[in-house]
């Protein structure tokens, strides 16, 4: 399974459409295979991330707040979206691999890195 996470520093980015950094990784069963790729986007656009997700054959998108238009579009393209996730992206990825990640979850590590937003 190919996973895309919108990230901001060490956390899942608060907004899908304003994300400038994404992480793409592949999993097999409950294991992460290969080295995750972090891509810096030239600008911020929800449409561009949707396009990238299709181009990269992504199966699961993990993100923070996402507009319904983008959410429905990804769903229509048969891409599963777990949105509203708050917390470190590594924790989100680990939970997703074990199929425990739920939409709107606030992960235990959320808020620990005090300077996240700066």
């Amino acid at each position: 399974m190919k996973i895309l996470i919108t990230i901001h520093k060490d956390e899942v980015a608060p907004r899908f459409d304003l994300t400038s950094e994404i992480l793409i990784t592949e999993t097999e069963g409950e294991k992460i295979t290969g080295e995750p790729r972090i891509i810096l986007l030239p600008g911020t656009s929800g449409e561009d991330i949707c396009g990238l997700a299709i181009k990269e054959n992504i199966s699961l998108v993990i993100c923070g707040g996402i507009e319904d238009t983008h959410y429905q579009y990804l769903k229509w393209k048969k891409i599963k979206v777990v949105d509203g996730v708050i917390g470190p992206y590594q924790q989100a990825l680990n939970s997703a691999v074990t199929n425990h990640l739920k939409p709107g979850v606030i992960l235990p590590g959320a808020g620990i890195s005090g300077e996240q937003s700066r």
Partner: protein, 480 residues
């Protein structure tokens, strides 16, 4: 004595204030409230913010505030960071995405929090849901205000394409065009579509006031600055702070005031009349004129440096006679508007009346057309507007013009170098043409063909038309 008493009573109540249940108080507010510590983690949110974001207050305490409100504040230059570093409260518009994946327009007010000891304690963000206001604004004015400007001609489409671009920047805009072409509407549309839309849009007619009065109107004055100045006056620049100042008839501005305007544009600060303390303002300037500023510069009546400073973005509004596709559109629009407002049962215009209207040259442009329709709808007692219901001046002007005037105009236009750069010249040509737009157009074609030695491709280029359009028009006017 009274002040001392008030202070004593306030101090007596201070313990009461410290014992107030702050959260219950905030819960009664119809604004979202978010308290964050200096590390931007949530200390508390009120009930309204719970509804706005979809989060319970218990679950978000300690979480980064940005993850809770999911705003676009970071992309607006991180105002929260700025508030944490300074003591300034700032207000700006943006949006948030809630748990239901809905994007809501929000007005944010960000205030730094300080303890009584002076130590910084974080920030408070007030979130005002402005969806309803935006909806209402859309209904009243349309999204950009552009909907009030009617036009379907190519030249108006060019203007419509430029409007959003001019609205996105803070650069000065110079709107040119003959009287009645809609310069004021365009200026207002730019303001409404810009990020300054929630701040004032103030219009000043530079030609309407004497110099001394205009200076005081623009820059304000201090009490005692001159006879009759019995109190301080803020002036339009200060009143328009954050918004847009629209200076119409800028060509009529005196040279000393031009210098002062130039200084404000450069330094963003000025001295009020009689004042010794500089005032800083953040104002966008939009100017308009029906005069040829370039010509005024040559004559030494307008400062060249100010001209270039104002002429950063330029919009030239076409006269009605150059908006051939718009005449009927505007006529129907104004007819419906006045018919509805005046509760008249008029069905329309007679063929004769339409002929008179379409042959008139409209030196007063859209404003004049509007006034003519208003007059006709008011005067018409039955179901059809006929020529006798039109203003008498319109009919007499048509009769007064003789074909010879038209002929001499063709000759003079052919000799003229400029096509339409000088609004004053085009206006006079329009007035002198008894055939209205049709004659003006014919003259324009003749002039272009004369200028290019009969080369149709170059003539089409000069007129801003395609070759096929020129060919069509030549056929139409039987100029072959």
């Amino acid at each position: 004595m009274v002040k001392k008493k008030k202070r004593a009573s306030f101090q007596a109540n201070a313990p009461l204030l410290s014992q107030l249940d702050l959260i219950s108080l905030l819960d009664s507010m119809t604004l979202g409230v978010l308290f964050m510590d200096p590390a931007r983690r949530v200390i508390a949110i009120n009930r309204f913010l719970e509804a706005l974001t979809g989060y319970n207050r218990e679950e978000v305490v300690g979480v980064h505030g940005e993850n809770v409100i999911r705003s676009n504040l970071l992309s607006k230059g991180d105002p929260v960071g700025k508030a944490l570093e300074s003591d300034e409260t700032m207000t700006l518009e943006g949006n948030i995405i809630n748990q239901s994946r809905k994007k809501n327009p929000i007005r944010f007010t960000i205030t730094p929090l300080k303890l009584t000891t002076g130590k910084k304690a974080g920030v408070m963000i007030l979130l005002e849901d402005i969806s309803l206001l935006k909806d209402l604004d859309n209904k009243i004015h349309g999204f950009s205000g552009q909907e009030r400007i009617i036009g379907n001609s190519r030249k108006m489409h060019e203007i419509f394409e430029l409007l959003p671009i001019t609205a996105r920047t803070d650069a000065s805009v110079l709107i040119t065009g003959e009287t009645g072409t809609g310069k004021d509407l365009v200026a207002e549309a730019i303001h409404k579509a810009s990020k300054r839309s929630r701040y004032p849009f103030i219009k000043i007619n530079c030609g309407a006031l004497p110099e001394s009065l205009l200076e005081s109107e623009l820059f304000g004055h201090i009490r005692g600055a001159f006879t009759g100045a019995d109190k301080d006056k803020p002036g339009m620049f200060r009143l328009a702070h954050g918004g847009t100042l629209f200076l119409t008839e800028i060509g009529d501005l005196s040279l000393p005031l031009q210098v002062k305007i130039l200084t404000v544009l450069d330094d963003k600060e000025f001295f009020p009349v009689g004042g010794s303390k500089k005032v800083s303002v953040d104002v966008r300037i939009i100017t308009a004129t029906n005069r040829d500023l370039g010509e005024l510069v040559k004559l030494g009546e307008f400062r060249e440096d100010l001209y270039y400073r104002l002429n950063v973005l330029r919009l030239h509004l076409p006269p009605l006679r150059e908006r051939e596709d718009d005449f009927r559109l505007l006529l129907d629009h104004f007819f419906l508007e006045f018919k509805t407002n005046l509760h008249k049962k008029i069905k329309g215009f007679s063929a004769d009346c339409l002929k008179v209207l379409s042959f008139y040259s409209y030196p007063g442009n859209v404003r004049e057309l509007r006034n003519i329709v208003e007059y006709a709808v008011n005067v018409c007692p039955n179901e059809t507007i006929r020529p006798e219901h039109l203003p008498k001046t319109l009919l007499t002007m048509g009769q007064a013009l003789t074909p010879s005037a038209s002929h001499s105009e063709v000759t003079s236009m052919a000799e003229n170098e400029s096509m339409s750069d000088n609004p004053a010249k085009t206006t006079s040509s329009a007035i002198l043409s008894p055939g209205g737009w049709g004659q003006v157009e014919k003259n324009m074609i003749l002039k272009a063909l004369t200028k290019t030695g009969g080369n149709r491709s170059r003539a089409a280029e000069l007129l801003g038309w395609s070759r096929s359009k020129l060919w069509r028009k030549i056929k139409h006017h039987a100029l072959e």
